[in-house]
C-alpha cells in the first residue's frame, strides 16, 4: 500500500501528508544520529556503562509512537534510547544521562538502561527483560480504572517472549481487556542466542491468539507498516476492545552492547545483508518515489538533526556530574509521618479481631480514595482467603476488587505499573511465601523505581500477606521474610502485633507514597483487642513500649510479642522485671527507643520468628553496639526460629519456633550473664 494511503486515513490534504512523512523521517533520523554519536562517545569513554544501541530498528519506535499522545505511556527495555526519543525525551537529556550528568533524564541515577521522562509519558526502561510488559499492563489498568482514554505500550525484544512476564502479562491484559499494545521487536537474537533456537514456536505473533488478542506480524524495517499496525492497535485499545500483540521483524546492525564482539554468533555477511535493508534509507527512497517531499527538504531535515545531536552532545559534556552528597536522595518519597491530628486515636474503642481491624481500615480508605484497588487470588466475591476484603466487591465491583489468576509475578508487576501511573494498588498475597515468585518485581522494580526516576515517580503500593509458623502450615505457608525485605533500600516493612496497631499502620501504609510490605502473622488474625473507631495513623519507625521494666530489654515482633509478655509475667514473680519493646515496623527501625531502654536495663534480648543469620536481631545488635555499647552489662542475645525450612508434623513444628518457656530461660540466663 502506498505510504500516502496509510497516512491518509484521517486527512486528505497534501500538506498534512508531507508533514506526517517529514515527522516520521525526522524521528527515525534523530534516533539514528543520536545512536551513532553515543557509540562514538562510548569509545571515547564519555559513556561510563553499557550502551545498547537501536541502530536498524528505528522504524518501530517511530512508527508506534507516532500514534501516541503525550499522556499515553511507554515502558521499555535495556535497548530503549529510541523509544525514549520517539516518546518525546529531549536528546540532550538522553546524552546527559549516558554521560552520567546531573542534567540527565534520570539525574545520573540510571544510565542507558534506566531512562525516565514521566512528564512526557516515557515511564522508564529496565535492565531486566520482561517487567516492562507487566508495567504497561498496570498502566492500562490505571487508565481503565480512572476512565482515561489513554493507552500503554510495552516495547520488548524477542528474548522477552520466552520469559514468564510475557505470558503472565499478556494473559492479564487479555482477560481484563486492558488498553495496551505489546510491541515485540524481533531482531533474531536474545543478546547472542538465536531466536529460532530459543523458541519452540518461532512465531511471536501467533502467541497473541493464546491470550485472546490479535497477533500481527509486520516488517519492522518498514515504518509505514509499523505505523499502520500500531494505528489499528491503538484504536482498538482506545475503543475498549483490549490489547494487541505486534511482532516487528527487524535486526540490530550494531553489537548487542557497544564494545562487544559481534561475530561469534552471527556472520559479517548476515549483518551486511541487513544493513542494505536500512529502514531510514527505505523510507527516504519511498518519500522521493511517491513525491511526498523534495530531496532538498530531506537534506534540510538531515542538517537540522545533525546540528541538534551535536548540541545535545555538547550540552551533556558541559553539564556537571551530580554532587556526591545526593547519591542516596530519592530512595524514599519522604518520611511516612502522619499529620499530628491523626497520630492520636480518639475514637471509641471496640474489641475486634486483628483481621477485622485491617478490613475496617481498608474499607474506610476505599470510600475516601477511588484510586485504591485490590488485586489478589480470591479477593473478589469470595472476600479474601482471610476475609481481608469482605463486603468490598459487592459495593465497589470487580475493577476495584480484582480476582487474579495464580500468577504472582504477573500481578505484582502489573501493580508496579499501576502505581507508576497514578493508582494505589493493594496486592493481597494470602501467604507471604507466594510473593517470592514476584521477588524480582518487588526488589528490582518496585523498590528501585522512585530512585531510578530521581523521585519523579511515586510508588504508592501496599503488598500484604500472612507470615508465621503455626497449625502445620508447612514450609510454603510459614515464612516470615521481613528481614529479607528490610535489606533492600526503597521498601517499608510493617509487622503489626495487635489489632489496634494493625489498623493504624494499615492506614499509614495506604497514605504513604512508598511501597509497603504489610506482613500479618496468621496466628494473630483472630486475636482480639481494643480498636479505636475512625481515623488514626501510626507513624512508621515508632516502636511501642509494650511493658516497662528494669532488668532486661526484650525486642519482639508479631507473634513473639504475646509470647514474651507471657514470659515476662512469669519472670515478674521471680523478681525479674522485663521491658518489652515492639518495633512495629522493621524498616524504618526505631533504634532510639531500644537504645533508651538498654541505657536503663543494660541487657538486651531479641526474640524473632524470622531466621537468625543476617536478620533483625543481627541488625539491632550491630546498631546498639554502635550507639549503646557503654550501656551494655552483658552480651546481646538472640532467640530465633531454627534455621531450617518449617516442618509439618506438630512435634517438629513445635520444636523450631520459640515459645514462652524458652524466652523465660533466655532472659534468666541473660540476667545472670
Amino acid at each position: 500500500m502506498p505510504a500516502k494511503e496509510i497516512i491518509d486515513v484521517e486527512t486528505k490534504s497534501a500538506k498534512s501528508l508531507a508533514h506526517e512523512a517529514r515527522r516520521l523521517y525526522r524521528q527515525m533520523l534523530l534516533i539514528r544520529y543520536c545512536e551513532e554519536r553515543l557509540a562514538a562517545a562510548h569509545k571515547k569513554g564519555l559513556v561510563h556503562g553499557a550502551c545498547h544501541t537501536y541502530v536498524g530498528q528505528e522504524a518501530i519506535a517511530a512508527g508506534v509512537c507516532a500514534n501516541l499522545s503525550r499522556t499515553d505511556m511507554v515502558f521499555s527495555t535495556h535497548r530503549g534510547h529510541g523509544h525514549a526519543l520517539a516518546k518525546g525525551m529531549e536528546p540532550r537529556q538522553l546524552f546527559a544521562e549516558l554521560y552520567g550528568r546531573e542534567t540527565g533524564c534520570s539525574r545520573g541515577r540510571g544510565g542507558s538502561m534506566h531512562l525516565f521522562a514521566p512528564e512526557v509519558g516515557m515511564m522508564g526502561t529496565s535492565g531486566i527483560v520482561g517487567p516492562c510488559i507487566l508495567q504497561a499492563a498496570g498502566a492500562g489498568y490505571s487508565f481503565q480504572l480512572l476512565k482515561q482514554n489513554n493507552l500503554a505500550v510495552a516495547f520488548f525484544g524477542d528474548g522477552a517472549v520466552n520469559n514468564g512476564a510475557f505470558h503472565e502479562g499478556l494473559n492479564l491484559a487479555g482477560i481484563w481487556k486492558l488498553p495496551v499494545i505489546f510491541v515485540c521487536e524481533n531482531n533474531n537474537y536474545a543478546t547472542e542466542v538465536p531466536f529460532d533456537y530459543a523458541a519452540a514456536n518461532p512465531s511471536v505473533a501467533a502467541r497473541g491468539a493464546v491470550y485472546g488478542m490479535p497477533g500481527i506480524e509486520v516488517d519492522g524495517n518498514d515504518v509505514m507498516a509499523v505505523f499502520s499496525a500500531a494505528k489499528r492497535a491503538a484504536s482498538r485499545a482506545r475503543d475498549g476492545d483490549g490489547p494487541t500483540l505486534i511482532e516487528c521483524k527487524t535486526y540490530r546492525t550494531r553489537p548487542h552492547s557497544e564494545g562487544m564482539a559481534d561475530f561469534g554468533y552471527r556472520t559479517r555477511e548476515e549483518v551486511e545483508e541487513w544493513k542494505k535493508r536500512c529502514p531510514i534509507q527505505i523510507f527516504r527512497s519511498r518519500i522521493l518515489a511517491e513525491d511526498l517531499l523534495e530531496e532538498s527538504e530531506l537534506e534540510s531535515v538531515e542538517k537540522e538533526i545533525s546540528e541538534m545531536v551535536e548540541l545535545a552532545h555538547q550540552y551533556a559534556e558541559q553539564s556537571p556530574f551530580p554532587a556526591r552528597e545526593t547519591a542516596a536522595i530519592h530512595v524514599y518519597a519522604g518520611p511516612a509521618d502522619p499529620p499530628a491530628a491523626l497520630k492520636e486515636a480518639i475514637g471509641k474503642e471496640r474489641v475486634m479481631t486483628y483481621m477485622k481491624a485491617t478490613l475496617e481500615a481498608l474499607t474506610e480508605e476505599f470510600a475516601k480514595n477511588e484510586r485504591i484497588f485490590v488485586l489478589g487470588e480470591g479477593v473478589g466475591k469470595r472476600g479474601g482467603n482471610f476475609a481481608t476484603t469482605t463486603g468490598l466487591f459487592e459495593k465497589y465491583g470487580p475493577e476495584r476488587v480484582r480476582d487474579t489468576p495464580i500468577c504472582e509475578r504477573g500481578f505484582v508487576g502489573l501493580a508496579c505499573g499501576a502505581a507508576m501511573s497514578g493508582t494505589r494498588p493493594v496486592v493481597d498475597f494470602m501467604f507471604a511465601d507466594f510473593v517470592l515468585d514476584a521477588a524480582g518485581e518487588i526488589m528490582n522494580q518496585i523498590a528501585k523505581m522512585q530512585y531510578m526516576s530521581s523521585g519523579r515517580l511515586k510508588m504508592p503500593i501496599l503488598l500484604r500477606g500472612c507470615i508465621g509458623i503455626g497449625h502445620s502450615a508447612a514450609t510454603h505457608h510459614s515464612g516470615s521474610y521481613y528481614s529479607t525485605y528490610a535489606h533492600f533500600p526503597g521498601l517499608r516493612v510493617v509487622v503489626p502485633s495487635t489489632a489496634a496497631d494493625a489498623k493504624g499502620l494499615f492506614k499509614t501504609a495506604l497514605r504513604s507514597n512508598d511501597p509497603v510490605l504489610f506482613l500479618e502473622h496468621r496466628e494473630l488474625l483472630t486475636s482480639k483487642g481494643p480498636v479505636p473507631e475512625g481515623d488514626y495513623m501510626i507513624e512508621f519507625g515508632r516502636a511501642k513500649i509494650v511493658r516497662p521494666g528494669e532488668h532486661v530489654t526484650v525486642v519482639a515482633l508479631a507473634m513473639m510479642v504475646s509470647k514474651t509478655l507471657k514470659a515476662a509475667e512469669l519472670l515478674e514473680r521471680e523478681g525479674i522485671s522485663v521491658e518489652l519493646i515492639d518495633p512495629r515496623t522493621v524498616a524504618p527501625l526505631d533504634v532510639e527507643t531500644i537504645r533508651q531502654s538498654v541505657a536503663k536495663t543494660g541487657r538486651l534480648l531479641i526474640v524473632d520468628e524470622d531466621f537468625q543469620p543476617f536478620g533483625l536481631g543481627a541488625e539491632i545488635t550491630a546498631r546498639i553496639s554502635d550507639v549503646g555499647f557503654d550501656y551494655l552489662d552483658a552480651p546481646i542475645r538472640r532467640l530465633n526460629t531454627v534455621h531450617s525450612p518449617t516442618p509439618y508434623s506438630p512435634s517438629l513444628e513445635d520444636a523450631v519456633v520459640p515459645h514462652a518457656e524458652q524466652i523465660v530461660i533466655a532472659i534468666r540466663e541473660l540476667v545472670k550473664a
Binding site: A599, G602, D630, Y631, L632, D633, A634, K672, A673
Partner: protein
C-alpha cells in the same frame, strides 16, 4: 624532642583535678585532636584532646584512675617517629609492615619500640589495658567504675566466666567506700570543696518571701496536657520559676553582677543555674536566657540538661555562666530552706514544696497553695535593698503567671 603531656587548667579557679583514665594506650599513634585521657574538674569530667602528634608514652608513675593531680603535672610523653627509630633501631619501619601512616607517624604493628625508661605495654597498670587484657568487664561496668572513681582491678566478677558487671561494681563501691575514706567519689570531693569554699569566703544573707501560687499552679495545669501532647515535654513548676528568675534578672541587671577575683563584673546574659540532684551528689547546669523564647524552650533546655546531668554527659560549658541559680525541693517534704550560693555566682533561690497553707487574701485568711522562697545573696555584690527588689520581681512574676507565658 618528646612533647610533654600536662594536666591542663579547666576554668580559672582550677588548681587540681581527678585523673580518671587514659583513652589511648602506650604506643598508640596520636593525631592532634585525638582524645588522650579523661580529667575531672570541680565542674565536670572532660575528655582532654591532644594538641600534638606523636607516639604516646605512658610512664609507670603515670597517675592511677581516681588520683588527684595538680595542674601542670606531666603525666606522659608524645615521641616523634625519629626518636623511636633512634631509640630502638630494630623498630625501624620496613616496607610491607604497613606501619607508616599518612601523617608520618608510626604505629607499631608487632613489637612496640619502648624507650628504656618506660615499662613495656602490658606491664603498665593502666585501667584500659587491664580491662582489655582480661576481656571480662562489661562496657557498662567499666563506665560505672570510672564514674565512681573505683579501681576495677580490685573487683571480683560474678558474671559468666567471671565477667565484671555493673552489679559487681556497685557492690564493690558500697563495701569499699567506708573502709577506704580516700575512695569517695570525685563528685563528692568537688561538692565538698566548692560548698566549703563558698560558705567560708562568701558573706551570705537571706531574704524570705511566701508566694500565693494558686494562679501559677492553675496555669501550669492548663498548659501541661497541651504541651505534653504536642511536644512530649512535661512543663514543671521549676520551668516557671526559672522563667521568673530570668525575667527578674532582665528587669534588674544589678542581680547579674558577680564577685570575681576582688572585682565586680556584670554578666551580659540572664542565665540561671538549676540544681540537679544525682545519686552521688548534685550538678548545677545553666539554663541559657530562660526569659526569652517560649516556655517550651525553657522546659526543653531544663529537661535535656537534667537528663545529661543524670547520664554523666554534661559538657563543661553547660556548667559555666549565670549569676544566680535555682534550687527547687518542691518534690520533697521541705517547706522552707536556705541554700549555699554556688561558687562564682552571687545568689541562689531556694524554693520549698508548694502546699495549701493559710494565706491572707483581701484581709481574710484563706487556704491557698503557697511556696516559701529564700534568696541567698552575696553581700559583697548586693545589699539588702537591691536584693529585695530582685526578689520582689520574682514574686511579682510568680503571682502574675500570665506574664511568664509572654516572657521578656
Amino acid at each position: 624532642m618528646a612533647i610533654e603531656i600536662k594536666i591542663p587548667r579547666l576554668g580559672w579557679s582550677m588548681e587540681e583535678g581527678t585523673f580518671q583514665s587514659w583513652l589511648k594506650k602506650d604506643g598508640d599513634s596520636i593525631k592532634p585532636g585525638d582524645p588522650l585521657f579523661t580529667l575531672e574538674s570541680e565542674k565536670a569530667a572532660q575528655d582532654i584532646e591532644s594538641t600534638d602528634a606523636g607516639v604516646l608514652r605512658i610512664p609507670d608513675d603515670s597517675p592511677k584512675p581516681g588520683e588527684v593531680v595538680k595542674v601542670g603535672h606531666v603525666i606522659g610523653l608524645l615521641s616523634s617517629a625519629d626518636e623511636i627509630a633512634g631509640e630502638n633501631p630494630k623498630a625501624k619501619p620496613t616496607n610491607g609492615d604497613g606501619n607508616i601512616h599518612h601523617d608520618g607517624t608510626v604505629k607499631p604493628t608487632v613489637t612496640p619500640p619502648v624507650p628504656d625508661n618506660l615499662v613495656p605495654l602490658g606491664q603498665a597498670p593502666e585501667l584500659n589495658s587491664v580491662a582489655e587484657s582480661a576481656a571480662a568487664v562489661s562496657p557498662r561496668a567499666r563506665r560505672k567504675a570510672v564514674e565512681l572513681g573505683l579501681d576495677i582491678r580490685h573487683v571480683r566478677g560474678t558474671g559468666v566466666g567471671g565477667r565484671i558487671t555493673e552489679a559487681d561494681i556497685l557492690k564493690a563501691a558500697s563495701t569499699t567506700q567506708p573502709s577506704t575514706p580516700h575512695n569517695f567519689t570525685s563528685m563528692r570531693r568537688a561538692i565538698a570543696k566548692s560548698t566549703a569554699l563558698s560558705f567560708s569566703s562568701t558573706p551570705h544573707f537571706y531574704l524570705r518571701s511566701e508566694v500565693n501560687a494558686l494562679a501559677l499552679i492553675e496555669m501550669r495545669e492548663d498548659l501541661l496536657p497541651e504541651m505534653e501532647k504536642l511536644q512530649g515535654i512535661r512543663l514543671t513548676l521549676t520551668d516557671l520559676i526559672l522563667r521568673a528568675q530570668g525575667m527578674a534578672l532582665n528587669d534588674f541587671p544589678n542581680a547579674r553582677r558577680i564577685w570575681a577575683k576582688e572585682e565586680i563584673i556584670e554578666l551580659p546574659a540572664n542565665d540561671v543555674g538549676i540544681v540537679v540532684a544525682l545519686p552521688e551528689g548534685l550538678m548545677i547546669p545553666v539554663v541559657r536566657s530562660p526569659e526569652a523564647g517560649d516556655l517550651l524552650a525553657v522546659a526543653k533546655q531544663r529537661s535535656s540538661l537534667a537528663a545529661a546531668a543524670r547520664a554523666g554527659g554534661l559538657k563543661l560549658d553547660a556548667l559555666q555562666g549565670g549569676a544566680t541559680s535555682l534550687s527547687n525541693l518542691g518534690n520533697s517534704p521541705a517547706d522552707d530552706f536556705a541554700a549555699v550560693i554556688s561558687p562564682g555566682q552571687s545568689s541562689m533561690l531556694a524554693v520549698g514544696r508548694a502546699m495549701p497553707r493559710p494565706f491572707v487574701v483581701d484581709h481574710k485568711v484563706c487556704v491557698r497553695p503557697t511556696m516559701k522562697l529564700c534568696l541567698s545573696v552575696d553581700h559583697r555584690v548586693m545589699d539588702g535593698g537591691p536584693a529585695a527588689e530582685f526578689l520582689g520581681r520574682i514574686v511579682h512574676y510568680l503571682e502574675h503567671p500570665v506574664l511568664l507565658v509572654k516572657g521578656r
